[in-house]
Structure formats: structure tokens, C-alpha cells
């Protein structure tokens, strides 16, 4: 595998995760529990979609086959997507959305912090920009972890159910393979073991403060690196890509 191929894969992983979670959050548009939360989630979704546009745009440039970020977003099938499984999980209720977002926000916070020092200038620049936005996301979801976890009996139960369901998707975030090994050597990507330590140190106290339990099972879902996704991604892409695919080549 060449460095260029590794970079392309790595950028797909970053960009696809942003795109898919951005899409999931946009599904709340007009349906949020209160107006301010509706707006908050849409703002966060917008940050992610903007980030995805930039990263997938760079991925297309690195690939060098004439594809654009739109081709990558709207014309690939499930098996070609590299987003983390956690990002495609359905929104469920607000507890599930917040829990999923919190676990992912802590991850992106430390990951992008590390990417600011990437030897690839474009990645470093994008990370510098996104990390500032991610800091605001994390603050928001942390507050809601406390409010809902340490809230009413019902909100607490919903949060614990969400945590029980989603915890199994957190292992994959830190898995590394040939792509990571190559890029770590070049100083382009960070060692995810270091990120994992920071993630655990950050996540555990918040979960405890929210009066929630970390599930006791050890099993962790994986597969997104090989394009093996949960059943949800197909439906998500069908909806997300339908307009683009209905009018091939259309221009605004």
C-alpha cells in the first residue's frame, strides 16, 4: 500500500464519519424536543457536513481520479463507506442521540487535537479549524449527559438503555490497521492507543457524574474499516443519496 492510498483511506474514514453523523443529526431538523435543541443539533450537523465537505474534497484530490466530494458522498455504496459504526446508529430518542453524540464527541475532540500536529498541512489545517467547533459540541453534549442521566427516573432509564446499546460501538474507534501504521510512521496520523487513554479518562467520570453505569459486557462491534456496516447504513444512504441519484449530472 502506498502512502497516497493509505491517506485516501484515512481521509475517507474521517470524512465519512463526519458526513454520516451530520446526516443523522440533520434528521432531527424540525423534530427536536424544544426549539433551542432543534437549532443546536442542526448547527452541530452543519459543522460536521462542512467538515465532511472539506475532508472528502481533499480525499478526492489525494485519490487523483477526478472524483469530487459530491461523487464520494452520493455515488458510493455501503461497502465503500468507511464511517465508524457508531455514526450510523439510528437517532432513537433524545437520550440515544445525546449518548451517541457524547461518546463520539470525546473521541473527535482528542483525535482532532492530535491531528493538528499532522505532517500533512491540509489535514493539520482542517483539524485546527474543526477542533474549535468540536469543543463547543462536546460542551453541549456533556451538559445534556448530566441533565438527562441525573434527571428524572424516566430520563435516567432511557439514558442507561442508550448506553447499554451504544457502548459496544466504542471499541472500533481505536482499532488500527495497515493504514494507520503507515501514516503513523509518516507523522500524518496519531497513535490511537494514546487517544483511547484520553478518551477513557474523560468519558468515565462524566458517565459516573451522570449517575450512569458502563455496561459490563466486553464485546465490541467492528467492521467499518472493511466496509462491513450495520443494517442501518443502507437505508440512510438510500435517503441521503436519492436526490443526487435521481438527477444524474444535474447542476445548480
Amino acid at each position: 500500500m502506498t502512502i497516497q492510498e493509505a491517506k485516501f483511506q484515512y481521509l475517507l474514514r474521517l470524512g465519512d464519519s463526519s458526513l454520516i453523523i451530520g446526516h443523522r443529526l440533520s434528521e432531527w431538523c424540525g423534530s427536536g424536543p424544544i426549539l433551542e435543541e432543534d437549532i443546536a443539533l442542526i448547527n452541530i450537523a452543519l459543522d460536521f457536513v462542512g467538515n465532511a465537505t472539506a475532508i472528502l474534497g481533499y480525499a478526492a484530490t489525494v485519490e487523483g481520479n477526478g472524483r469530487t466530494e459530491d461523487d464520494l458522498a452520493f455515488l458510493r455504496g455501503e461497502r465503500e463507506f468507511r464511517n465508524l459504526l457508531i455514526t450510523e446508529q439510528p437517532n432513537g430518542d433524545y437520550a440515544a442521540t445525546i449518548t451517541r453524540q457524547f461518546l463520539y464527541d470525546v473521541y473527535t475532540y482528542y483525535l482532532y487535537e492530535a491531528l493538528k500536529s499532522s505532517k500533512d498541512e491540509t489535514i493539520a489545517a482542517l483539524a485546527e479549524k474543526s477542533h474549535k467547533e468540536i469543543t463547543y459540541h462536546l460542551r453541549h453534549t456533556t451538559e445534556w449527559m448530566y441533565r438527562l442521566g441525573d434527571g428524572t427516573a424516566e430520563s435516567h432509564e432511557r439514558m442507561q438503555n442508550a448506553m447499554n446499546d451504544l457502548w459496544m460501538f466504542t471499541g472500533e474507534m481505536f482499532d488500527m490497521d495497515e493504514v494507520d501504521a503507515l501514516l503513523i510512521k509518516e507523522g500524518i496520523a496519531p497513535d490511537l492507543n494514546a487517544i483511547k487513554e484520553k478518551w477513557e479518562a474523560h468519558v468515565k467520570p462524566v458517565i459516573a457524574e451522570a449517575t450512569l453505569q458502563i455496561p459490563s459486557y466486553n464485546f465490541k462491534q467492528k467492521g467499518s474499516r472493511e466496509g462491513k456496516h450495520s443494517e442501518h447504513l443502507g437505508f440512510l444512504l438510500a435517503e441521503m443519496q436519492s436526490v443526487h441519484r435521481s438527477f444524474p449530472g444535474a447542476k445548480w
Binding site: E36, I42, L46, E133
Partner: protein, 184 residues
């Protein structure tokens, strides 16, 4: 002389005239010329005052305009790009390329003091000095004044307001809501 020669001569002459009509204008002047473009959402400030317009340069016959987005997903960037093309077309420059650059990362530190006054007059609380607000990201409280009545007795409704760059506040004295331009 055959008909097509006459026609092609006409086209050559017209092209020369068109080139003469493009004013002999420096890139500095072009840069200032684009100050006429306001932020689409906040029309009292322009793209130079916001630090969005970074550079204007000539790449051969192409006028390249370099801009940087405020937030990654800012939808106003497309409108600003279109406005740049429209504005340059007014003075006969049609061969335009708009480059979106992400580095150096845009920061509210680039908003001029004058622009902050304009925001305030428009009803938007301007970003506080960055060192103060970055403290917010670790939990410290901002000290803002209501743009309508000047009271410091304000509450934050949501960290996310009408646009990606703004937070929503309410004044506890006059009860009016207002936007705060977040530091980033």
C-alpha cells in the same frame, strides 16, 4: 475579403476593446473594491472587516480571490463566492477563480474593532476578547451586555443560535432576545 475574415476581424477588435475596458487596477485596489460585499446574514459588516477575504491575485489571465470560511459548514460562503463574481463582473473581470482556504484557521480575533461596534449597533453582542471566551470552553461565564438596553443581567438560552457563529441570549431586564457572536 471573404465574409468570415471580416467577421473574425470584428471579433478580434471587440476583444481588444473589452480588454481596454478592464480598468488598470492594482490587486490592492481590487481587494478594497470587494469591501462592498457584505456578510449575507449581517449586512452591516463586509467580508474584509470579518477577515473572510484574504487575498486577491492574478494568475495569468485569471483573477484569483482567496477567502476563508468562518465555520466549516458556513452556508454563507457560497453566497459570498457568488457575490464576488457578480462584483468583479461589474468592472469587466469575468475570468475569476475563488479559492477556499482553511489555513490559517479563521478566528474572531480577525474581526476589526470597528466591525465589532457595527455588530453592537445592529443588535448583535460582539465576540469578547478571545482569551476571555476561550475560558468559556472550560466553563467560565461570559460577561455580556444587552445590545438593546445595556444591562449586564443576561442569560444564555443556547450555545447555538440562529447561525453557526452565534449563541442565543436573553436580557433579564428588558426581556429582549439577542444573538452573541461566539468566539472561536
Amino acid at each position: 475579403m471573404p465574409q468570415h475574415d471580416k467577421l473574425s476581424n470584428v471579433f478580434v477588435i471587440l476583444n481588444e476593446v473589452k480588454n481596454l475596458m478592464i480598468p488598470n487596477i492594482t490587486t490592492d485596489q481590487l481587494f478594497q473594491f470587494l469591501s462592498a460585499i457584505p456578510d449575507p446574514e449581517i449586512p452591516v459588516i463586509n467580508i474584509i472587516e470579518l477577515g473572510i477575504l484574504r487575498e486577491v491575485k492574478w494568475d495569468g489571465e485569471t483573477c484569483t480571490v482567496v477567502i476563508t470560511p468562518t465555520y466549516s459548514g458556513c452556508p454563507a460562503m457560497k453566497v459570498i463566492e457568488d457575490d464576488i463574481r457578480i462584483k468583479l463582473k461589474e468592472i469587466g473581470i469575468e475570468n475569476v477563480k475563488v479559492d477556499l482556504v482553511y489555513t490559517p484557521a479563521w478566528t474572531t480575533d480577525w474581526i476589526s474593532d470597528e466591525a465589532k461596534e457595527k455588530l453592537w449597533a445592529y443588535g448583535i453582542a460582539p465576540p469578547e476578547h478571545s482569551s476571555v471566551d476561550k475560558g468559556l470552553l472550560t466553563g467560565k461565564v461570559r460577561h455580556l451586555k444587552c445590545p438593546q438596553c445595556g444591562s449586564e443581567n443576561v442569560s444564555m438560552i443556547s450555545q447555538f443560535g440562529s447561525t453557526a457563529c452565534k449563541a442565543l441570549y436573553r436580557c433579564n431586564d428588558c426581556r429582549e432576545p439577542f444573538d452573541y457572536f461566539k468566539c472561536i
